[in-house]
Symmetry: C2
Subunit: 224 residues, 2 copies
C-alpha cells in the first residue's frame, strides 16, 4: 500500500475490516479504486497497479505444470516499485485468492514466507535491470501488442533453442511495457490482434515450451 493513500478513508475502512493496519495491506483495485485516484501520477503508473489477481491467476496457470514439475521453470514477479519476488518452484500456491493475498501481505512484512524452514517466497529490492544482469539470460523476450506479429508456438520453439532464455510478460491489465523495460528486451512479439490476458499468454507459452523441449512427448511415452 503506497504511503500516499494510507490515510484515505477507503483504505482505512478496508484495513480495519481486515484487522490490519493500512501499511500491511495489499493494494487491490477491486477494493481501493477510489483511493487509487489520488496516487500521484508523477511517481506511479496507477493504471498498471493494484492487480494482484493477475499475478495470482498467472502463477496458478504455470506453477502446477509438467514444465515446473520437471524443473524447467524459474518464476519471478517484479513490481513497479522494484520489489522482486523469487518463487521457489516447490511452492504449493494458495488456490483461494483471499489466502493468496494474506500470503503476499505476510511476504511484504517479513521479506520471506514461511518464516521458518525453506523459503517458498522471498522479496528483495531489485530493479529489473539489476535482476536481468544477475540472471544473465541468453535472450530476453517480451510479449506486447506492439511487437512483431508471430505465433506464440513459433516463439516458444525459437526460445527453446537458446540455453537460458528469459520471458517477460506484463502483469497489468492494459498499456504497454515502459521504454525502460523495452530497452531490456531483445525481442518483442505480438501473438494476437486482441490483447490476451497475462495468464492466458503465460499458460499457453509454458504449454508450447513443454512441447518444444519434448516434455509432453516424454511424459506420455513413459506411460505407454
Amino acid at each position: 500500500m503506497p504511503d500516499e493513500i494510507r490515510s484515505h478513508p477507503q483504505i482505512k475502512h478496508y484495513a480495519s475490516k481486515r484487522k490490519k493496519s493500512p501499511e500491511e495491506i495489499c493494494l487491490d483495485r477491486a477494493f481501493h479504486h477510489s483511493a487509487m485516484k489520488q496516487l500521484p501520477r508523477n511517481r506511479f503508473l496507477p493504471e498498471k497497479m493494484g492487480r494482484p489477481d493477475i499475478v495470482h491467476n498467472s502463477l496458478l496457470q504455470i506453477l502446477e505444470t509438467p514444465l515446473n514439475w520437471e524443473n524447467n521453470l524459474s518464476v519471478f514477479v517484479h513490481t513497479q516499485e522494484d520489489q522482486l519476488i523469487t518463487i521457489n518452484p516447490k511452492i504449493r500456491l494458495p488456490k483461494n485468492y483471499t489466502r493468496f493475498i494474506g500470503l503476499i501481505e505476510q511476504l511484504f512484512l517479513e521479506k520471506r514466507a514461511p518464516l521458518e524452514g525453506d523459503p517458498l517466497l522471498i522479496i528483495q529490492k531489485t530493479t529489473l535491470q539489476q535482476f536481468i544482469k544477475k540472471f544473465n539470460p541468453s535472450k530476453t523476450i517480451g510479449f506486447s501488442r506492439i511487437g512483431e506479429p508471430d505465433l506464440l508456438r513459433n516463439v516458444a520453439n525459437s526460445t527453446a533453442k537458446t540455453s537460458h532464455p528469459m520471458v517477460i510478460i506484463g502483469a497489468f491489465p492494459r498499456g504497454h511495457f515502459t521504454k525502460d523495460t523495452r530497452r531490456l528486451l531483445n525481442e518483442i512479439y505480438s501473438v494476437d490482434e486482441r490483447s490476451l490476458d497475462t495468464w492466458v499468454v503465460a499458460g499457453r507459452f509454458v504449454y508450447d515450451f513443454e512441447w518444444s523441449i519434448g516434455i509432453a512427448q516424454k511424459r506420455i511415452e513413459s506411460r505407454q
Copy 2:
C-alpha cells in the same frame, strides 16, 4: 449454502460479516471448512464441494480466448445439486474472485444475471443426463486419471473431427467422476500421470482445439 449447515456458527459468522443471510452465500471451503465437516455424506460428496475458485479460474482461462471470440465455444457449469449454469459467450467475467462470488450469489438468488437486459448467466435445475440429451453432442469426452493415456493435443485433434463434441472436465480438487457421470461419457482420457488442475486442462484443451480447427493459424495470417 446447503440447508444442513446454515445454522453452523462458522457460516453464521461469515454471512454476517458479508452482510448477507446464510442461505444467500456461496459455499467455499477456504472459509467454511469446519462447517463442511457436518455435511451428511449420504446426501453430499463434500470432498467435491465448496470450490468456486476452481470454476472461476477455469472460466478465466477459456472465456477470453480466440476460440470463444470466434464463437466456437459454449460453456456450462453443472453442480452436484444439479444446477446448470449457462454462460453467455459475451460475458466479461469479473477477474476479482470476491466480485465473482458476489455475482454467483446474485445468480443463485435471482436465477439470472444481470436482472435487466441480455442475460449473461442463467441457472436452472437440470441433471447432467437431461442436459446432454438436450445438447445432443456428437461425442462426449471426459478427462480423468483413470482414463486411457493419451496426449491432450491428440484428444483435441480427434475431438475437432466430430461436428458437435462435448468435453466434460471435473471442477473438483480430487477424486473421479461418479459412476453415473462415467456412464454418460463416450471416451475418457488421462493426459498426465499427475493430476492436473481443472484450469490447466481446460486452458490447454481450448488452445489445442484452436490449432485443430485452424483458428491460431487464421488469426496470425490475417495480420501478415
